[in-house]
């Protein structure tokens, strides 16, 4: 049984998706989905443990040896990502029931859970597989289900956002497919390990350059690197709140994993970052992302859009770390990847709680929520502090490592720019804090808020005040993430160790 865990990780959610159709009751479907996700989480923990004790796990599908058959290969990096993705999906699903009940029409709720499980299976598959073409297939599984999830949003603009994402996402995925095809043309293999051994012989040919160029552009579209991020803000803003929380915590992270996996394992860091001026290019784009997106975030009036742009900025930090091409830089990027999932997860979960009560996402509707919903608002504040990088939160840890990595290469100006980028984060987080805590609510409730009140609240107005905190089923997972934000900010052993292990195995493997 233990030997089969690498495949079970992907197969369990994949097979659970159609079973959802058979379960009639919505509550049952929710419990089932959460259970499946929790099982995936347990499996991924076990995998991480196995990787740490036994080294890289190799699973041959159907017993076929690697270059001919497909293999799943799990090393420290993939194990960490597996834990991250399944943990985030479990936490989001725990709170999903209430929020989804409110935001999605009844007859479509089962489909929501099915699409969610498929999206989870796709993301886990991308991480677990050791076959380049399999990456593309799983990428499309997760992308197609993501488009559906976004289109479920209440606002009609969700449809438009989903359509735009579909166009850009498909172009990105097709570029990746072209890149993989050209690599196959030169080497005759699709297995990542095999590719990494055969590519050095042909690395100077134009075909491999072209393959790499197509691949990088495709992946950067998927991970929303600065000039290619246009699909992201609308998709995050109009998707159902829980979908936003899940996407913000996992989707772009998985794309960054693909980037790291291909550049470091397959192409090798020397080819990827020094033959082409990619290192400088990515650093400039990362910095532009940090500044451009942060400034746009400051101007936003929709809270979900605000944090969506902030995500683009945070991806900039990861790309800066990645572009250094050093062990320290990659470690910083991976740490920030993990930590950013925790903070954005917490923030968007809290926003889901706010939306549940208030029914809107505009800043003006958030006046005085600090008094009315203290716990939910506090969760956003802690998440915001993490985004800024205040000590004792996870954001500080990853920015610290990033700055150390930059200083190692003597890049003082970049350090200054990174710190200035954090100041911009202070501005947009403060904007929210000011409205939530220092402005009194206009009237008893905002116009949309009245609709959002549940019938019980209307019956006993005295209790309404205390009942306006988000329901506990959303609050508990939110605060789980908030506590994780603080815990991993203080006790960095786990994250730093795993990241270090992942980085050393990546540098050891690369030719």
């Amino acid at each position: 049984m233990l030997n089969h865990f690498p495949i079970l990780q992907v197969i369990v959610p994949l097979l659970a998706a159609p079973i959802c159709l058979l379960l009639q009751q919505r509550r049952l479907v929710w419990i089932f989905t959460t259970l499946v996700s929790a099982i995936a989480l347990l499996i991924s923990f076990q995998l991480l443990y196995q990787v740490q004790t036994q080294g890289t796990l190799i699973y041959e599908l159907g017993g076929w040896q690697a270059p001919i058959g497909i293999e799943y290969r799990i090393d420290a990096l993939s194990a960490l990502l597996l834990v991250l993705v399944s943990a985030m999906s479990t936490v989001v699903l725990m709170g999903a029931h209430k929020s989804i009940e409110k935001e999605i029409p009844e007859d479509k709720q089962t489909f929501f859970y099915i699409a969610f499980l498929l999206c989870l299976a796709g993301s886990l598959g991308i991480i677990a597989t050791g076959d380049a073409f399999n990456v593309f297939v799983f990428l499309e599984i997760s992308s197609l289900s993501t488009y559906t999830l976004i289109a479920l949003g209440k606002d009609r603009r969700a449809l438009w956002a989903s359509y735009q994402y579909l166009i850009m996402g498909t172009i990105g995925a097709t570029f990746i497919l072209i890149g993989i095809g050209l690599m196959y043309m030169m080497t005759g293999t699709l297995n990542m390990h095999d590719l990494s051994q055969r590519l050095p012989e042909v690395v100077q040919t134009k075909t491999v350059f072209t393959a790499f160029a197509f691949f990088i552009v495709g992946v950067c579209l998927k991970l929303a690197l600065f000039p290619l991020h246009l699909w992201l803000p609308n998709a995050y803003a109009y998707a159902p709140s829980m979908v936003t929380a899940f996407l913000a915590a996992t989707a772009t992270k998985v794309a960054i994993y693909v980037l790291v996996r291909f550049t470091f394992t397959i192409f090798g860091v020397e080819f990827a970052l020094s033959f082409l001026p990619l290192s400088e290019l990515l650093m400039v784009l990362g910095l532009l992302g940090v500044f451009g997106a942060s400034i746009v975030a400051i101007l936003q009036t929709n809270v979900k859009r605000l944090f969506a742009y902030s995500s683009v900025a945070q991806i900039g930090y990861m790309i800066i770390g990645f572009s250094l091409g050093s062990q320290a830089g990659l470690k910083a990027a991976l740490l920030h990847l993990f930590n950013h999932a925790l903070m954005k997860g917490a923030i968007f979960m809290a926003i889901a709680g706010l939306v549940y009560r208030i029914g809107a996402t505009n800043l003006e509707h958030f006046k005085g929520v600090g008094q009315r919903m203290p716990l939910t608002a506090a969760a956003i504040v802690v998440g915001g502090l993490s985004l800024i990088g205040v000590p004792l939160t996870v954001g500080f840890v990853s920015k610290w490592y990033l700055i150390v990595a930059l200083l190692e290469q003597g890049l003082w100006p970049v350090v200054a720019l990174v710190l200035m980028g954090s100041l911009l984060a202070v501005i947009y987080v403060w904007k929210l804090v000011e409205i939530a805590y220092f402005q009194t609510p206009s009237g008893e409730l905002s116009p949309n808020g009245n609709e959002a009140l549940s019938p019980q609240d209307a019956l006993n107005p005295q209790d309404a005040f205390s009942q306006r905190e988000a329901p506990w089923i959303i609050l508990v997972p939110t605060w789980l993430l908030v506590v994780a934000n603080i815990y991993f900010g203080i006790d960095t052993d786990f994250t730093v160790n795993v990241a270090t292990q992942a980085v050393s195995s990546l540098f050891g493997e690369s030719p």
């Binding site: 593309f136 297939v137 488009y147 438009w160 359509y163 166009i167 498909t170 097709t174 072209i178 095809g181």
Partner: protein, 118 residues
């Protein structure tokens, strides 16, 4: 002469650019999806033509033949075709829903309606 020898790749590149251009330039959502399909199809042709071995037959195990085309790219592209169909179907379904909600499938008109709302 060298240019004509690899005419299959020229076909791929031309199709790819045509498809990409349609996606970018057209405002009609259905036409965009058609462009996307053409764009994807060009990649299918890329894979298929790279699997062809000149003089090779279909990969059938028989003593009469010794040179085969590589079947693997064909198998791969079968998967990609399925993905392409799924994408197009999902995209068209979205267009239907957009048409229901907005009453139009022209990008500029949708943008206008959204701007008026904000």
């Amino acid at each position: 002469m060298n240019i004509l020898e690899q005419y299959n790749y020229w076909v791929v590149v031309c199709l790819m650019m045509i498809g990409f251009f349609i996606v970018i330039s057209h405002g009609n959502l259905v036409k965009k999806l058609m462009g996307l399909s053409v764009f994807q199809t060009s990649v299918f042709i890329l894979y298929i033509s790279m699997g062809k071995v000149s003089g090779g037959t279909a990969p059938i195990l028989d003593q009469a033949y010794s040179v085969f085309s590589n079947p693997l790219p064909h198998v791969l592209i079968l998967t990609a075709i399925v993905v392409g169909i799924a994408t197009t179907a999902l995209g068209l379904a979205l267009v239907v829903r957009i048409n229901e909600e907005y009453g139009t499938i022209e990008e500029s008109e949708i943008q206008q309606k959204d701007d008026r709302e904000c």
